[in-house]
Amino acid sequence: MIGQPEASSPLLSIRDLEVWSSTSGQRVPVLRGVDVDVRAGEAVGLVGESGSGKSMTLRAIMRQLPAAFEASGSMTFRGEEISQMRSGRLARFRSDELGMIYQDPRAHINPLWTVGDFLTEAVVVSGRLRKREALARAKELLEEVGFRDPAGQMRQYPGQLSGGLLQRVMIVAALMPEPALVLADEPTTALDVTVQAEVMSIFADVIRTHGVGLVFVTHDLDLAAATTDRMSVMYAGRIVETGPSDVVSTHPTHPYTSALLASRPSLHRRRALSGIPGQPASAASAGPGCSFAERCGFVQDACWSHGSALEVVDAVSASACLRTPELRTRLKRSDA
């Protein structure tokens, strides 16, 4: 293991992250004022609809923003500024200290390589483990995620595995270098719901066992609540609400979170879905005030000019809504 950080100091700390794109000749915002803290062993959810900026935040952490995108603000990993890492250090950060899990495993695995070669390549090339050690670790981890015959599995090709099994292989791949931080981008969205439940239970298990920090990106608020300790809800490139996951998912403090929860049909009964009028906004289309104002049922004049910074609600939660103090009791989830 790499030296453990102090229990209180965050593993990953993001402050006032801004990302701007100038792909269309015009400079437009993509992320505004994003703050995220992840401690060792802690799971943090980033939840939002398309265009909210949740995946872009992960790409900024990895320093893998698309061309013509630029980031500003501070992102530190164990106190070290990620933007200041030189190429060798950055490569080591990505290969040894970060694990990535994506939505579509087939897009991130070479179909012509066996599972065993895929799992061991990166750690051997980076010099982190010798081939023999890498094979032993892969075998151990495959067993941990539920493969009964790891040796046999390592001789298989990705095409021979179902989506659920392949995603377990990707979990193993992410954990191979003993990373301190795992970034997971909708890791179960493409899976069937029974397989999702299975993979999530395995995933939650190994993340806990290995004590890694986790950033879990998803559009599914209930899934995030089941998997993470804290979560931040994103809208139009900003975090609109943050707090303990079970609190955010049952007693939201921001009208957007509340509306999102009221939009989702319930498994248990048919109910009038309020939906949210209009379309999800992007950071580029949002005005100077609250970016949710044009779709919000509680909008007031002040919302159009009030800044969207997070304000502390109580010891554990923060909301970007001007009216949170007065609305709080009315935003409670109806189907919880």
Binding site: V193, S266, S274, I276, Q279
Partner: protein, 270 residues
């Protein structure tokens, strides 16, 4: 079968030939849909739910078994006349309408083309009918001059529904029609589907992997797995008191308030 039975599917089976032999995608499936009823078909990948929908739509023939509309045998249409008659019985809406819209055709021109084939309800001018359809699905008459790329995902799905309604079909087959939408937009489309059914005698065959969505828009539901119907019944009964082990597992896997992934029994599962 009674007078109200719009669709009656009897013992349909579909086998696909593959190099290693054949795969049975749909295995002896039977069900009825009454006029104005909404029947959900739920299942995971490989359950045969989409193949079943395509057979009912006439896009594919069954290897064996029958599909009957209003008591008359329906087969994949071969002649133009038969195809038009088929279109007036059943229409289909897919997950991503973008793939079936001509990027160079305005919405109005697209509707006009279909109206020219199927006509309008008594006395209505084609243009008025097109505008009425757009408004019925929550778009505005001005959208007639829009191109598909100018629409959001939710608006495109609204248009796909409007287009399917041109021939005034009796049955609308929706194959994962709201699955690709953000939940705030999905809610709008689900509400629209419920409103449409209240206003007309339109019936739905609603194919989805999402049980909560099925609860929202269906009266009855079939649960399919590996080509077989494992459970069937009223949507409340099936989701509240699932009888089949697979339905129980499906219901238990859906994240909701307070949901946690099931505890792992042992490490050796795969």
């Amino acid at each position: 079968m009674n007078d109200e039975t719009l669709l009656s599917v009897r013992r349909i089976t579909k086998a696909f030939v593959v190099p290693a032999g054949s795969i049975v995608a749909v295995d002896d499936v039977s069900f009825d849909v009454r006029a104005g009823e909404s029947l959900g078909v739920v299942g995971e990948s490989g359950s045969g739910k989409s193949t079943t929908a395509r057979i009912v739509a006439g896009l594919e023939g069954a290897t064996s078994g029958e599909v009957n509309f209003w008591g008359a045998r329906s087969r994949p249409a071969r002649s133009t006349v038969a195809r038009r008659a088929q279109a007036r019985r059943v229409q289909m809406v897919f997950q991503d309408p973008f793939g079936s819209l001509d990027p160079r055709q305005t919405l109005g021109a697209c509707l006009a083309e279909i109206i020219a084939v199927h006509g309008t309800p008594a006395g209505q001018a084609p243009k008025d009918y097109a505008h009425a359809l757009l408004e019925r699905v929550g778009l505005a008459a001005r959208h007639a001059s829009s191109y598909p790329r100018e629409l959001s995902g939710g608006q495109r799905q609204r248009f796909a529904i409007a287009r399917a309604m041109v021939p005034q079909p009796h049955l609308l087959i929706l194959d994962e029609a709201v699955s690709a939408l953000d939940v705030s937009v999905q809610a709008q489309i689900l509400t629209l589907l419920n409103e449409l059914r209240e206003q007309t005698q339109l019936a739905y065959l609603f194919v989805s992997h999402d049980l909560a969505v099925v609860r929202q828009v269906c009266d009855r539901v079939l649960v399919m797995r590996s080509g077989i119907v494992v459970e069937e019944g009223g949507v409340d009964r099936v989701l509240d008191e699932p009888q089949h082990e697979y339905t129980q597992r499906l219901v238990a896997s859906v994240p909701g308030p307070g949901w946690r992934p099931p505890q792992r029994k042992s490490r050796a599962q795969a």
